[in-house]
Amino acid sequence: MTDEEPRLQATPAARTALEAVRAREGSQVMFVQSGGCCAGSVPMCFLEGEYLTGDGDILLGDVDGAPFYMESTLEAALGHPSFVLDVAPGGPEGFSLGTVDGGHFVSRSSACLVTDETA
């Protein structure tokens, strides 16, 4: 990865899924990258403004206007990662919105882009 590359990209499948979620909800949405635990290690998807962000949150970028945040301590602990927003089967976690076909959003580190799964 070079410095010029964006911190956040999205697969075509993620962009299609995002469009469908926005249509279903009738609203813009936002993403917040979660650390791990009983759920997590995924971007949580909320209606825009649902999750109150503060000075300690970093805006990594946006996907078609949907902002993608990450808490700064987590961002530093993960070594300032770059992400590719993607979708995967299986329901969403926590209070996150799922995709219209019963899947959920995932974030893959950009180094994983070489795998067939995200190509």
Binding site: C37, S41, L52, G90, P92, H104
Partner: protein
């Protein structure tokens, strides 16, 4: 011994085609009539359906809870203790069935549910039955004519959101103190594990007054939010990850109610050279202490997922540990010989695989495992992962992020100072382990590690009488211990004058 799968011939555990919510002492179909498939991690195949509830079901559960709360809150401590003891007795009587249900819903090995999860659940209710009986208010003699009386009063109706890793034990951690303190509860289990709690309700439903415990299943984005944001709850308790935890605290702030959050960890497990001073039972215990990262397939908020080993014993100590790890028997979670069962979901499996990819990309050395396990036959569709160990550097992502799987990150340290620095170089502060034969070192390390619990020469013990909770971003509040009765009540002060004399101001 291999148990028959619940719902199949020869099993003691009945499985209905679908389960509604448990509201007001009865099972009720969800108002909109929607259900979702519930797969078992054992095979990956759906075995029943659970209610996909909506906001209206949460309101119905809150109606039932509010109806029950006044009488329950006014009942004597002795009466409440009787109910808690009856819950414990009923579960103990059906321990095997409930353990099997928990194993089938979650995927964990049945030897764990039979010997840990469910016996601990039983003990938890008995502990709080006893603790409640011993509760006392306080009084302060302000002066000769004035006394301040302090009473503990219930909060009323509380909301509780339970994680998937110990669906019943974590429910007990929250239910027992809430009930003992006189509250009624609306509880939402995690979406991957909606069934075993309903089997628990089948067993304890008729010993608890209707409406005191209500259970609603369904998607977090809909009913978790409907519960956590509801103006009719007096407290919200949550165990899960940090983003949802922050949202819970945000909702609590908006309604000005207290919250308890338990939000995970990346717990260091520290082994000093002196553990190898003798080749004895203690060394054997320490080796097992490292391998406990595989307990519950690593799906534990306090999983000892970072092993820090003093460099002069690393080779020999790790060789012993790896031999023990390679002896972990994977197989059907319903087999009492199985030592490590299935991960809870395909989501979880994919995350674990993803972290293993990251470990390799970051240059960590794989000492064992690193891939999914194909156990063949009926288990081929189940969610099995091999016990895994990577050696690396504490700055790597596998040392910093909670993987929630059977993946151990190992590194070495030179001296006490470096051990402490590495132990505290984490966002989290839930658990830690210290292993040494030197009592002074154990004390100094234990006090200096920034975590809510430091297991000392032991790990993964969860007695009801020991407070549990996080430092740093691992959450706010505690669970277990009788101090929980304070967390589920509020203080009423009666300030009483026994003087007949006016103040003389007016």
């Amino acid at each position: 011994m291999l148990y028959s799968a619940p719902g199949t011939e020869g099993s003691k555990v009945e499985v209905l085609t679908e389960y509604g919510n448990f509201i007001g002492g009865q099972f009720q179909a969800p108002i909109e009539g929607e259900y979702a498939d519930n797969p078992t991690p054992v095979t990956g195949k759906p075995f029943t359906r659970y209610a996909q509830s909506t906001e209206a079901d949460v309101e119905a559960a809150l109606d039932a809870a509010h109806k029950a709360a006044p009488a329950w809150g006014e009942s004597s401590l002795a009466q409440r203790a009787i109910v808690l003891n009856k819950i414990a007795d009923a579960v103990e009587e059906h321990l095997e069935e409930i353990a099997l249900a928990e194993t089938y819903d979650n995927g964990k090995a049945v030897r764990e549910t039979l010997n840990a999860d469910i016996p601990l659940l039983v003990d938890h209710f008995r502990y709080f039955a006893g603790a409640a009986r011993a509760e006392e208010g306080t009084l302060t003699e302000i002066d000769a004519d004035m006394v301040a009386y302090h009473f503990r009063e219930p909060l009323g109706v509380v909301g509780q959101i339970i994680p998937f890793n110990f669906p019943l034990l974590m429910a007990a951690w929250k239910l027992a103190p809430a009930l003992a303190a006189g509250n009624a509860v609306v509880l939402k289990p995690a979406s991957p594990t909606p069934w075993s709690i309903m089997k628990l309700m089948e067993v304890i439903g008729d010993v608890v007054p209707p409406g005191v415990i209500n259970v609603v299943t369904g998607p977090g984005a809909k009913i978790g939010k409907a519960l956590a944001t509801n103006k009719r709850i007096a407290k919200i308790a949550f165990t899960g990850e940090t983003v949802t935890g922050r949202l819970i605290m945000q909702y609590a702030a908006q309604n000005i109610i207290p919250s308890t959050t338990e939000l995970g960890g990346k717990s260091p497990n520290i082994f000093f050279s002196d553990v190898m001073a003798e080749d004895d039972a203690f060394l054997d215990k320490a080796v097992e202490g490292l391998v406990l990262y595989a307990f519950n397939q690593g799906e534990v908020c306090t999983c000892p997922s970072r092993a820090l080993i003093q460099e002069d014993i690393y080779d020999e100590f790790m060789a012993r540990c790896l031999a023990r790890i390679k002896a972990i028997k994977q197989g059907s979670p319903l087999d009492t010989e199985t030592m490590m069962g299935a991960q809870v979901s395909t989501n979880q499996m994919d995350k674990i695989s993803g972290y293993c990819d990251i470990a390799v990309q970051e240059g960590a050395e794989c000492l064992v495992g690193g891939q999914k396990a194909d156990l063949g036959g009926d288990l081929a569709g189940g969610y099995y992962f091999n016990p895994t160990v990577y050696k690396g550097d504490n700055k790597m992502r596998i040392f910093q992020e909670e993987i929630f799987g059977p993946v151990l990150a190992v590194t070495t340290f030179k001296d006490d100072a470096e051990a402490l620095e590495l132990a505290n170089d984490t966002m989290y502060g839930l658990g830690a382990g210290v292993w040494t034969r030197n009592g002074t070192r154990a004390y100094r390390m234990g006090r200096a590690i920034k975590a809510g619990r430091v297991w000392t020469n032991c790990y993964h013990a969860y007695p009801a009488g020991a407070a549990f909770g996080g430092y740093k971003i691992s959450g706010v509040g505690r669970e277990n211990h009788r101090m929980m009765l304070d967390h589920y009540s509020q203080v009423k002060n009666l300030l009483v004058s026994y003087s007949d004399q006016p103040l003389g101001f007016f």
